[in-house]
């Protein structure tokens, strides 16, 4: 029997190696073959459609490719490691002329693939390195989602006002809870703009933030949300990708402003509204550019105008009266530039250089920001390299698509910052 077994093994190996080497001969011709085939687009996703974050990407990928009439190849559950490089390379093998990845940690592996396959375009959402790495076929994209967060924050503030008017809470109790992932600029920018939106309509609003140390951990997010609710937060929002926080809110009957898409179906009693990035405009733009042989932006920022920043339908059963009108008004002001989300007069900052809190900020006597050196060029030094305060406002997503607002403003309490 052993002989048979070793024979089988030997055959398997011979078979595998024959394929390997005959395959080598073919792969040389792949590059020329690409242009003849119909255009295909590849997508690499960190999780599958059970994650609200990835579902948002997957839906956009399908929608964009269907609209343009090209084939989408979607690879889900690709970790932020060598698997990402392998997936990207396999998508190239499968004939994709353009490959997208959706998670921050995919970036280095996408750059690696871009170097190895110069004829294919690699587009990475949420990344920061394209404008400095100098690889022509590697591109970053993000959207000015802080504007969407601000608008969602207005809905939250309106809800707080309604609760105060009804006498459910006093003005001092208008405390918002926020479940974040990491103390990373994308999260900080998100909760700060959300808070500023809420405070623009409810002056007494304060906020507590907790961090899970993971972009996707249903249990931790649920626990974090429950902790905030027990701590006296009367309204929640989150920047973490599972259904953990919305579910905890539904169970406790606490109103929730969601992210990445509507959670109305699972949380009909508590869901107010959700902001999300619509990736369809970006996908369409890139694929069109690729098909027409035009250059793709190194660093693309979508906004309200491109349709990249979206709010879901408002859940009228939970939202306060007049929410839709208030949002529309602010949206118009944001669009014509008369309203800035990070208007320096709207918030104050305490600089504590000894504890390295807001060390890159310069403020006036009242605590309003006058200058901020942001770390726009990602490097290991984490040094501020660009002043991003212009005309009395912190210009988010202007110098780079990915957010760089990482200030701690007054009124927001961070419960834990270990991540």
């Amino acid at each position: 029997m052993k002989k048979v077994l070793s024979l089988v093994l030997a055959l398997t190996m011979v078979f595998a190696f024959t394929l390997t080497f005959t395959g080598c001969g073919e792969s040389g011709g792949d590059d020329e073959g690409n242009s003849d085939q119909a255009m295909k687009a590849g997508f690499i996703c960190l999780h599958d459609e059970n994650s609200t974050y990835d579902k948002n990407f997957i839906d956009a990928a399908n929608a964009a490719c269907e609209k343009l009439g090209i084939e989408a190849i979607i690879k889900t559950n690709i970790p932020e490691g060598q698997e990402c490089y392998d997936a990207a390379a396999e998508l190239v093998d499968a004939g994709c002329g353009i490959v997208f990845a959706d998670s921050f940690g995919h970036e280095d592996y996408m750059i690696q693939a871009a170097k190895d396959f110069p004829d294919v375009d690699f587009c990475h959402s949420t990344g920061t390195k394209a404008h400095t790495v100098g690889v022509d076929n590697y591109h970053n994209a993000f959207a000015s989602i802080y504007q969407g967060r601000y608008l969602a924050g207005i809905a939250a503030g309106m809800k707080l006002n309604e609760m105060i008017e009804k006498g459910d809470i006093t003005a001092d109790q208008a405390k918002i809870g926020y479940v974040g992932a990491f103390t990373y600029a994308e999260v900080v920018s998100g909760y700060t703009s959300f808070f500023l939106g809420a405070r623009s309509v409810c002056e007494s609003a304060t906020m507590e933030v907790t961090f899970t140390g993971s972009w996707y951990d249903e249990t931790l997010e649920k626990e974090g949300a429950t902790k905030l609710i027990n701590d006296g937060c009367v309204l929640l929002s989150q920047h973490a990708d599972s259904m953990g926080a919305p579910t905890a809110c539904e169970n406790a009957g606490v109103p929730d402003v969601s992210y990445n898409g509507s959670t109305l179906e699972a949380c009909p009693e508590t869901f107010i509204v959700s902001s999300r990035i619509d990736w369809v405009p970006y996908y369409e733009y890139c694929i069109n550019a690729r098909m027409n042989g035009e250059a793709i932006d190194t660093d693309w920022t979508g906004d309200l105008e491109t349709g990249s920043v979206q709010l879901t339908d408002i859940n009228e059963a939970v939202a306060a009266e007049g929410t839709a009108e208030a949002i529309e008004e602010a949206k118009a002001a944001l669009a014509d530039g008369s309203l800035q989300v990070f208007d320096c007069s709207a918030f104050t900052v305490t600089v504590d250089k000894d504890n390295n809190i807001n060390a890159n900020a310069t403020v006036d006597a009242d605590g309003h920001l006058t200058e901020y050196m942001a770390d726009v060029d990602t490097d290991e030094a984490f040094a501020g390299d660009t002043n991003v305060v212009e005309d009395g406002a912190f210009m988010e997503s202007k110098f780079r698509s990915a957010p760089y607002f990482d200030l701690q403003i007054d009124g927001i309490t961070l419960l834990d910052t270990k991540f």
Binding site: L9, S27, D48, N50, D86, G105, D375, F382
Partner: protein, 369 residues
Amino acid sequence: MKEKNKIRKEPLIKLSRREDIDRKHSWTYRALAIVAALIVDAIIIMVIVHMNPLDIYGTMFAGAFGTTRKIWVTLKNLSLLLLISIALTPAYKMKFWNLGGEGQVLMGAWATAFCMLYLGDKLPQGLLLLVMFIAAVVTGAVWAMIPAVFKAKWGTNETLFTLMMNYVAIQLIAYFVIKWEVPKGSGHVGIINQDTQAGWLPYIGSNSYALIVGLVVLVTVGMHIYLKYSKHGYEISVVGESQRTATYVGISVDKVIIRTLFLSGAICGFAGWLMVSGSGHTITTSIAGGMGFTGIMVSWLAQFNVIVMILCSFLIVFMGQGASEIATSFGLNEAFGDILTGIIIFFIIGVEFFINYKIHVRKSGKEVA
């Protein structure tokens, strides 16, 4: 009820141990089990997702062997899983329940990343790789020896001890990921030395995985010889059969336990080195991908036979690659692939029962096997 109990009947099903089964028959049963599993999988595919099972199987095969690159990815994954299974095997043969493979691999990976980060620009490439290798192997070995020393000296329970050491390792790495993250607050270390490629295992031609596969083949052959033909291998078997016998014939049981765990941990550390230096070039808490645990299953399924382990790791890696391919091609969730894999493994484990036991059913007297 009482009436019935009075009559003593032969039990409906009776088991008796088979002593006489030969290899040919046992392998026929195993082959039949896989065929049966594929049939059950086919029924599930038709009933749940209404698809042609042959399409699914064909796609799974393409997922593992469809292109040159896929073959190499399959070979690399197979090699790493096999390596970890091989690392755990000597301890199991000795009846030492080392469940700490994951942690030992992670610590090896950690030591490798540490050297790449702090020595990357200080040492020449060859020396750096050597230093990384030694650091990884020693760190993995030390991680495995801690529970072994406790077991040998004070008789602590190694099952719990080794298991808990995994979580200590995971938390340690979580700490270092935050310490080393780029950019700050992101929770990602990213590719280490991406520009200089310092401390990266060299490519063979343009192939980055061939060296990994080659090194694992060497270790596999080495371990096969070590367990089957060396004095150490014999001592491990004796300690595994009976510690008293071992003591009686003059084997120092403590010494064998510590020595074997050193070897076990060293190979796990070696696997960690390959993962960081040869493949991922980064460090995360999940870089071992649960292979430290899957390796336990592979080792036991193969009943500690190194050659059979190749088959078992191949099956698991093949199914994993296949599952992700059907997710991509048919939009089926990867969990569906896991269901199919689970059924196959269930049948493979189940058939061992029928190989070891005969079943006698009352009246009909027919054997079911």
